[in-house]
């Protein structure tokens, strides 16, 4: 029978090979599933990998989708490294959208739309604050009541979703919107500047890249980052050193909530231009996969965000051009995460074949 045996030292090779093997095997599984559905696997694979990068505008779309993923995954990597399992980035994202969207709506209605860049910055900050406040609920419940942050943050996602639905179906609904659940369109000046003519990608992308750099600095060059890393690697050592677990809990959750909220705010003030129930296509959850593929390192989060962004766009293309169902995209993301967790286990363990005990005992009888 097959046995997992703990290695003496973690395997360095597997540390690097694991993400690569996972990606490769995900594509293999994808090809198999797709051909079982009667579609041409090579065409689908090229839709997932090459098509999204076909041309300046396409690359712009990849960058656009990568922006919220980078921001959310940076915050999540920060949390996960400290053993705080924030699964509610999606909810914090939505609160950010609600915060910024609400402010933009009020500004548009009252005509306070100039100077655009000043209001946009404030709205983005409000969105970040709203996301942080949403995450603070989880932090507070874990701090005071030892509530499991996985459950609380996840359940708050549903609350956030319902809150958004309530607002866009109810008090914030555009009276001139033919009864569609959406707010009015925000004034043109209240949108984040584009990075190029004809492209939807905006300055938020640059902010995301800068945030990645800021995260690297925070985690590896500040005493706070060192305390958080120790707390994540060895909680016993953090206690020994007198590091406050309360400090780390609040820091990572507020930070992660702010990043997710900022991402939500950027979505709403960027490509969407209004609030609808479909502000997020699951960015908060996809970011969890991004964080793990990136092995929780900030710079790798950027690369992994691009990978997942390409996969998401590939999924949309596969739907429209080849007729694959909408769930194909999330299915591949799930397979990728599964493969990653499987191969990651080979870093600490190796596979060995052991004969069955009864057979071996017969040798000794």
């Amino acid at each position: 029978m097959i046995v997992l045996e703990k290695r003496q030292h973690p395997s360095l090779w597997m540390g690097y090979l694991s993400p690569l093997l996972s990606i490769a095997l995900t594509f293999v599984v994808a090809a198999m599933v797709v051909s079982a559905m009667g579609k041409d696997p090579l065409r689908v694979l090229s839709l997932f990998t090459l098509e999204p990068l076909n041309g300046k505008r396409a690359i712009g779309e990849v960058m656009l989708k990568a922006t919220p993923l980078i921001l959310c995954s940076l915050g999540l990597a920060f949390c996960f490294r400290s053993n705080v399992w924030n699964i509610g980035a999606e909810g914090q994202f939505l609160l950010g959208a609600i915060g910024a969207g609400g402010m933009a709506m009020w500004l548009t209605e009252t005509g306070l739309t100039e100077p655009g860049w000043l209001w946009v910055t404030q709205a983005l900050l409000l969105g970040a604050l709203a996301g942080a406040a949403w995450a603070a609920i989880t932090a507070w419940l874990r701090d005071r009541a030892h509530a499991n942050e996985i459950l609380v943050s996840l359940m708050l996602v549903y609350v956030a979703n319902l809150l958004l639905s309530y607002l866009v179906f109810g008090p914030w609904k555009d009276p001139k919107g033919w009864n569609f659940p959406q707010t009015l369109r925000f004034a043109d000046s209240l949108s984040i500047g584009r990075l190029g003519a004809g492209m939807r990608v905006h300055w938020g992308f640059v902010v995301a890249l800068i945030s990645a750099g800021a995260m690297v600095w925070l985690m590896y060059f500040t005493a706070l980052g060192a305390r958080l890393r120790v707390g994540g690697l060895a909680p016993g050592a953090a206690r020994f050193a007198g590091f406050s677990s309360r400090e780390s809990l609040w820091t990572v959750l507020l930070c992660s909530g702010a990043f997710a909220g900022l991402a939500g705010a950027m979505e709403v003030l960027g490509p969407m231009g209004q609030l609808t129930p479909h502000v997020s296509t699951g960015y908060g959850f996809t970011a969890i996969i991004v964080a793990f593929v990136a092995r929780l390192h900030p710079l790798a989060c950027v690369l992994a965000s691009f990978l997942l962004s390409i996969m998401m766009i590939g999924g949309e293309l596969a739907q429209s051009r080849v007729g694959l169902p909408a769930s194909v995209s999330s299915m591949f993301q799930g397979v990728l995460l599964m493969m990653l967790l499987t191969f990651d286990s080979l870093i600490q363990y190796r596979i060995k074949w052991r004969g069955r005990p009864s057979k071996e005992l017969a040798k000794h009888a």
Partner: protein
Amino acid sequence: MTNALRLSLKAISKSYGNLRANDKIDLDIKPGSIHAVLGENGAGKSTLMKLIFGLLQPDEGRIFLDGTEVRWQSPEHARAAGIAMVFQHFALFESLSVAENVWLGMDKSWSLAAVAEALKELTQHYGLSVDPNAFVHRLSVGERQRVEIARGLLARPRVMILDEPTSVLSPQAAQALFAMIRTLAKEGCSVIYISHKLHEIRELCDDCTVLRHGKVTGQVDPRQCNDEQLSALMIGSAPAPLLRAPRALSSPIVRLDAVSVPALDEAGERLNTVSLDLAPGEVLGIAGVSGNGQGLLLDLLSGELTSDAALMRRMKGHIFFENRAIESLGVRMRRRLGIMAVPAERLGRATVPELSLADNMFLAESKHAWRLDHQSLYRSAHDVVDAFAVKASSPKALASDLSGGNLQKFIMGRALALRPKVLLVSQPTWGVDVGASAQIRQQLLALRDSGAAILVISEELDELFQIADRIHVMYAGYLSAPVKRADATVELIGQWMGGSWLSHEHAAQAESATLQYEG
């Protein structure tokens, strides 16, 4: 001659890296004998049992069962061959019944009903009194142990190993256990009884092998020996104290005043009105078997428990530093006062195994404002490695790459570099080779001579006799009065480690604490 023995180990050796846990051990168990394996913690008993039970493979030596040589690859083999082991820590599912728990561990040919039937027969035959349908969460510790024993007995073992079984039992329950063991032995099963309690061994066992530092120091009939002879084999004679400067008396810098911390459950450590004085320029030793409250004492003094609000509420008494009550201060504040702790767990508590030595300096430093100064950490690590002769490739070496002895030298050096006024050390040379142990003890003495106050918690009496000025013994959360090194003998301390110094009422309290949990 070998054919007459149930179990025979010949020249068994096992090393963990540099540490020779078992060194050419011979062990001969006769059929139907109750054979004690006696030794202090760290003597090599658990490694030896793991070898017999199939959890480990010996590096050298051979094992014979009823005259045939055997080599087990796993505990399943050993169990199938007739070796049963009852561990100190039970592996039972609380939400299932006794029969279900035992049934889970059997091979698939047994049905739940058959298991329940067999258990009923067993309990009648051996007087075990365990109800197969009872749920484990309702059982007391003693009853759970009986379940584990029943589980072992179902396989009709030829050798049954019991690891410190009375550590969780009241005296009455221990007597019931002894009756069961005698019945078992009469039927021909050999029993290996691991313990460090001399009176039990003399009462119960007919044969005894004594281990010390991985070697066999003697095989005797315990009924013919007295406590001193057994102690001498187990602990050896007291070594001479290391050279030290004469000590001038001064007023204590740390005082514990009737500190009590009740335990939350039967297995938890507790402290019962512990009072002690620690003066500058002295080494105060705390002897005793681990688990009697020493760990709790260290954690309380280091400040790590201050953030545990529930525990602090349960705590009574005061901790004074320079006449100031400091119970409510956390680790950082206490370090600023000059109190530094070196815990027994090196990897995962004193250091982070995945980080380098330079990064691990961060756990003890308090200089950094908000910026992390990598150079300064590197330099401090380099200084420690140099000053304390730590064998590491560089300060960038990971903590997990260092051997136990070198890591301990690093941890000590890191603590000493802070020039603490009070140093609290637990098991300073556990698992460390002889050379490094001597160096570490010299460092402790040098620190003492420079005027610091040192508290050393150690299971190794040798060590305490070498470096301590005064020695306390800890038992069941109670702390004995201190004994000056000149007045202390191995026999006295050895007896105290068994709790003989407790006054009648305290002894009764200690027993009733376990009685509550015994049905």
